[in-house]
């Protein structure tokens, strides 16, 4: 598939570099809001909107932002969009706003967004950055919705609010269930991977594999530290 076409970007985000299952990014919202499929879907779509808009904005500004203040500039762009979306949700979807609560403003520190800004939008043209944002956002949505569906079925016997069977183990809706479901998903993935020959993933993915957003944070920190040193020399 040709690189950087819209279709390729969507495929890349949803399947090849799925942020939840392959890159393991953005673990905090993944575990916290997936108590039901609807919440997972809502969080995923909210993140997608913010990711698409911030990718677009950062890609437009990529020649205007000086390298030395890149990170703070990205953070301000992302935080502005998060604030706008937060108010839109509060106004138009108050029930979703209430159930996501504090995790909406926390999208600012979701490293999928800064990771994509740094790894993709700051280097590529506007249109492909927009599709990269949509693809990655849809991938995140798919991941969150899947985990939400599993937890909702096991925890309350419902799917998207429709009763499938009576009862269910409440623990899957509570905090420990999130850890258990994610552990099972990762273990399954390890099992599948072990059966397959080693595949090389592309390096522009932001390079976050096992430790998830820790390594991503590391990377951001490293580049920040490098810049600080550069700035120190200039000053």
């Amino acid at each position: 598939m040709k690189a950087n076409t819209p279709i390729e970007r969507l495929y890349n985000g949803i399947i090849k570099e799925n942020p939840t299952f392959v890159l393991m990014l953005g673990m905090c919202p993944t575990l916290a809001v997936t108590t039901s499929a609807v919440n997972g879907l809502g969080m995923g779509l909210t993140t997608m909107v913010i990711l698409t808009m911030s990718n677009m904005m950062i890609s437009m500004l990529r020649k205007a932002i000086p390298d030395s203040v890149r990170m703070p500039a990205y953070i301000v762009v992302v935080a502005s969009f998060v604030t706008i979306v937060q108010f839109l949700l509060q106004g138009f979807l108050p029930s979703l706003y209430d159930s996501l609560g504090i995790y909406i403003p926390l999208i600012v520190v979701n490293c999928i967004i800064l990771g994509r800004a740094e790894a993709y939008a700051s280097k590529n043209a506007v249109v492909s950055s927009i599709f990269d944002g949509i693809g990655m956002g849809l991938g995140f949505t798919v991941g969150l919705t899947c985990i939400g569906i599993v937890r909702e079925i096991l925890g309350s016997g419902k799917i998207f609010g429709f009763q499938l069977f009576e009862g269910g183990a409440t623990i899957f809706v509570l905090a420990p269930g999130a850890f258990f479901v994610l552990a099972m998903l990762v273990a399954t993935q390890n099992k599948i991977k072990a059966g397959r020959p080693e595949q090389k993933t592309s390096s522009e993915s932001g390079g976050c594999s096992e430790a998830g957003c820790l390594s991503c944070g590391n990377k951001i920190c490293e580049s920040k530290r490098m810049l600080d040193e550069k700035g120190g020399k200039n000053a």
Binding site: M27, I75, A79, T83, I102, L106, I171, N190, A211, L214
Partner: protein, 192 residues
């Protein structure tokens, strides 16, 4: 006084930041391989979180509320936190090299720790004043330290166990976290 104590117990044990609110999961999973690094991370988080919740509640209560600009909270908080971590790092480097040596590595990681921004936002949501907000920040960080040090202790033991192959690495850690989270439910009777 009693109210502050309630806030402290509530956010350190009952609503533990990692195990029931999922904030600060990344360092919790990433830096919990060894007991001493976990304790170091915990120390750094206590230091930064107390300071940052003090600063953010001062700024929120004295500046943003006065100017009627509460809607700027997310942007202002994240910038304040990033600047604060930088300042703390520079200050420690100059003034307390010994402390910097033990905490320095963990400081930059904290900017991306969502617990810091999370506590600042929770302080606003719960309408805590400056003192209550600072106590909440400190207690949350203590809760984080308890969780990460316990986790490191367990992980050091897991090293010697025969874990099924697909579960090695992240899955077994997540399962452990789940069990710890169940254990922390036991505290929920402490406060009502």
């Amino acid at each position: 006084m009693k109210e502050l104590l309630m806030i402290a117990i509530g956010s350190a044990l009952v609503n533990n930041v990692v195990l029931s609110q999922f904030l600060g999961l990344c360092p919790f999973l990433g830096v919990s391989k060894k007991m001493d690094t976990a304790a170091g991370m915990g120390g750094a988080v206590i230091f930064v979180l107390t300071l940052s919740s003090l600063c953010t509640s001062i700024i929120y209560n004295l500046v943003l509320v006065k100017l009627g600009m509460e809607y700027m909270q997310t942007i202002v908080f994240i910038l304040v936190i990033a600047a604060l971590v930088q300042l703390v790092e520079m200050f420690l480097k100059k003034a307390m090299p010994a402390l910097y040596k033990s905490l320095g590595v963990y400081l930059p990681l904290i900017t991306t720790n969502c617990a810091v921004l999370g506590v600042a936002l929770l302080n606003v949501q719960n309408e805590y004043g400056i003192l209550a907000g600072t106590v909440n920040g400190f207690a949350t960080a203590v809760g984080f330290t308890i969780a990460i040090v316990l986790m490191a202790g367990i992980r050091e033991k897991i090293e010697y166990n025969d874990v099924p192959k697909p579960f090695r690495g992240m899955p077994i850690v997540l399962l452990t976290a789940g069990l710890m989270s169940i254990a922390f439910f036991g505290f929920s009777g402490l406060i009502r």
